[in-house]
């Protein structure tokens, strides 16, 4: 056997390899380029209009001065209510899937459906809540918006809770059971405590996910030009205000929309980063 190398072929393989690797670097830069561009746009368009009026005045009529205070408060109320409905439901459902469903035949189906809901179009949830809440009530309301958000948060929380509870070693369950603790106590006092930071991460990510959602609020919470303190009434919320103001022909409305867009993005990215930090800390301690 000769060891003579087919130089031309070797060169071709080498160049093909270099080309693909360069392309891969280019693709990564392409991906990061959009993130930088988006953030730069948000800061340059939104930052000049972030001031105290933004946080303390309600949305103005065209040409008037005002801020986004009712939208910000409304978004907080809707998000918090949504999570208060979605988190307990999601954590308990996740607990069942992780802890009590070993012999269940329905659990894999639930898991499968939950994974589909995780990526399902949020506008469908909006139409659904419109059908079951807005139509019977006869008007748009904050409750409908909160419910729609809860349904979007739910699959995220179910999934993270199950994942996180599964990370808790079985030894802990066995040790607690050996001491005579009933299953509810094993779960609430031992397993939840061990998985606390993981569950919290899931809830925070769900908050991040729903605080920027617009589509499901369009037909549920709608919007409100004024202060709305009752969940029974249509409720102002940042995403829909941004949508309406951005699409409007008035300059000051568009400026407010950019300022709102900056606020919402910072909040969502901040939540994402905090969630990651919370998840990482206990692992690093080990």
């Amino acid at each position: 056997m000769s060891v003579v190398m087919d130089t031309a072929r070797f060169q071709r393989r080498k160049y093909l390899n270099i080309m693909v690797l360069c392309l891969s670097v280019l693709m990564t830069m392409f991906g990061l380029f959009w993130l930088v561009w988006l953030l730069w746009t948000l800061f340059s368009q939104g930052l000049p209009y972030v001031n105290s009026t933004l946080f303390f005045k309600a949305t103005p009529p065209p040409g008037g001065t005002g801020g986004l205070a009712n939208g910000i408060v409304g978004s907080l109320v809707l998000t918090v209510t949504g999570v208060l409905i979605g988190a307990p439901t999601g954590v308990l459902a996740g607990t069942y899937l992780s802890e009590f469903s070993r012999k269940s035949k329905i659990a894999p189906v639930i898991r499968f459906v939950n994974d589909i809901l995780l990526s399902a179009p949020s506008i469908i949830i909006g139409v659904f809540v419109y059908e079951i809440v807005v139509v019977p009530m006869g008007h748009f309301s904050g409750w409908a918006g909160a419910l729609a958000l809860a349904m979007i948060a739910l699959p995220v929380i179910v999934r993270t809770t199950e994942d996180m509870l599964r990370l808790v070693p079985d030894n802990m369950r066995e040790a607690a059971a050996a001491l005579g603790a009933p299953r509810w106590k094993v779960t609430t006092a031992i397993i939840y405590r061990a998985a606390r930071s993981g569950i919290l991460t899931g809830v925070l990510l769900a908050v991040a996910r729903i605080s920027g959602e617009t589509a499901p609020l369009l037909f549920t919470a709608l919007n409100n030009q004024f202060w709305s303190s009752s969940l029974n009434q249509p409720m102002a919320n940042l995403p829909v205000v941004i949508f309406q103001f951005a699409m409007s022909p008035y300059d000051d409305w568009q400026h407010l929309a950019w300022a709102g867009a900056l606020l919402i993005t910072l909040a969502v990215l901040g939540l994402n980063i905090v969630a990651r930090i919370i998840l990482k800390t206990p692992k690093m301690r080990k």
Binding site: K14, L16, N17, L23, S24, L26, M27, T28, F30, G31, L32, W34, L35, W37, L42, T89, G90, L92, A93, T95, Y96, E99, S101, I106, A107, I110, V113, D115, I116, L117, L118, S119, A120, P121, S122, I123, I124, V127, Y130, E131, L154, E162, D163, G180, P182, R183, G202, G212, A215, L218, F219, I242, F243, A246, M247, Q254, I264, T265, V268, L269
Partner: protein
């Protein structure tokens, strides 16, 4: 009796523990069932809402391209076409880019850079869709109209097939713009899946390929890709499902007209953008019902795509929930 007293728990305490146990387990089971009930309820409510339109138009609803609120004549074809075309554009751009990024992160990237790059790409998924829409309409579309579309027009005018697809008035908004923005939005989802897949390939397989002199690309092409084929396709389907259901970003930039144009530079409509634009303004039972029927169609399409994706990703490490 004797044994119980020895363990210190009286019969009453034992019984109470048992009752609480049953309550707790059944309670969690109830909430798990809620997930299943929700999807059934969505199907039922959409079906019920869509019934008047489906009864009036029959199967012709799917193939009719009319959308006229005045004469109450509705069809889903334009919206379905728009949804499919924008998603296909998004896949054509998004799949190679996601593959490149996943390749970079798993095979090329120095270890210290892995986490920052990974997180930065994931943050693309965290940015709310309405932000993409605003940026697309006010920043991207004008640039696209001024610099890219005239170039496309001069480059492809007269070329068969591509000529009719890629030329048109330089408006900035339209199907092409929507497709490009969708591509950016689904890149993080597909990248995450592909990355997870590439990382589970056993090192021994890769090392043996390197050992006989394969280049990095050959290892990826001949070892990594065949090993992870199902998962990569699953990831692509996940991206497709996301692209088809995306609403706000598309609503901003697609132009919202109910006509099918040959050119990708012309405005159009998708199922989700029709819903977002018209649902609150729809008057009359048939109009609303037709919109809900559109929603039902979207539900079916995305359900099938996402279900296929999940079946392919079945054996993947279960960390997806963390990426929302």
């Amino acid at each position: 009796m004797k044994q119980r007293q020895q363990t210190g728990a009286g019969p009453e305490q034992m019984d109470r523990g048992k009752v609480l146990d049953v309550l707790f387990v059944q309670g969690t089971r109830f909430f798990a069932w809620m997930v299943l009930l929700i999807i059934l309820a969505v199907l039922f409510a959409l079906g019920k809402g869509a019934l008047p339109a489906l009864e009036k138009f029959g199967p012709g609803f799917l193939t009719s391209s009319s959308w006229n609120p005045v004469t109450e004549d509705f069809g889903a074809l334009v919206s379905i076409y728009g949804t499919l075309v924008t998603s296909i554009i998004a896949m054509l751009i998004g799949v190679p880019v996601s593959f490149g990024i996943a390749l970079f992160i798993t095979e090329l990237c120095p270890v210290w850079l892995k986490r920052p790059v990974g997180i930065a790409i994931e943050l693309l998924a965290a940015i709310p869709s309405i932000i993409y829409g605003m940026w697309g309409l006010f920043i991207f579309a004008p640039l696209f109209a001024d610099h890219v579309e005239p170039w496309l027009n001069s480059r492809f005018a007269g070329v068969p097939l591509l000529g009719s697809l890629l030329t048109g008035p330089p408006m900035g908004i339209g199907m092409a713009t929507a497709g490009i923005i969708l591509a950016i939005m689904i890149i993080p989802f597909m990248t995450a899946v592909m990355r997870d897949m590439f990382e589970v390939v056993p090192d021994v397989l890769k090392e043996s390929a390197y050992g006989i002199g394969a280049t990095t690309w050959e290892v990826v092409r001949r070892v990594v890709l065949p090993y992870t084929r199902a998962g990569v396709i699953g990831g692509i389907m996940l991206g497709l499902g996301r692209a088809m259901g995306e609403t706000m970003a598309v609503t901003f930039v697609i132009g919202n007209t109910n006509r099918i144009h040959a050119s990708l530079l012309m405005p159009g409509n998708t199922i989700s953008s029709s819903l977002a634009n018209e649902f609150t303004e729809a008057v009359g039972e048939i109009y609303t019902s037709s919109l809900i029927a559109l929603g039902l169609i979207l539900f079916f399409i995305t359900f099938i795509v996402l279900a296929l994706s999940r079946l392919l990703l079945h054996h993947l490490s279960r960390q997806e929930g963390l990426r929302t």
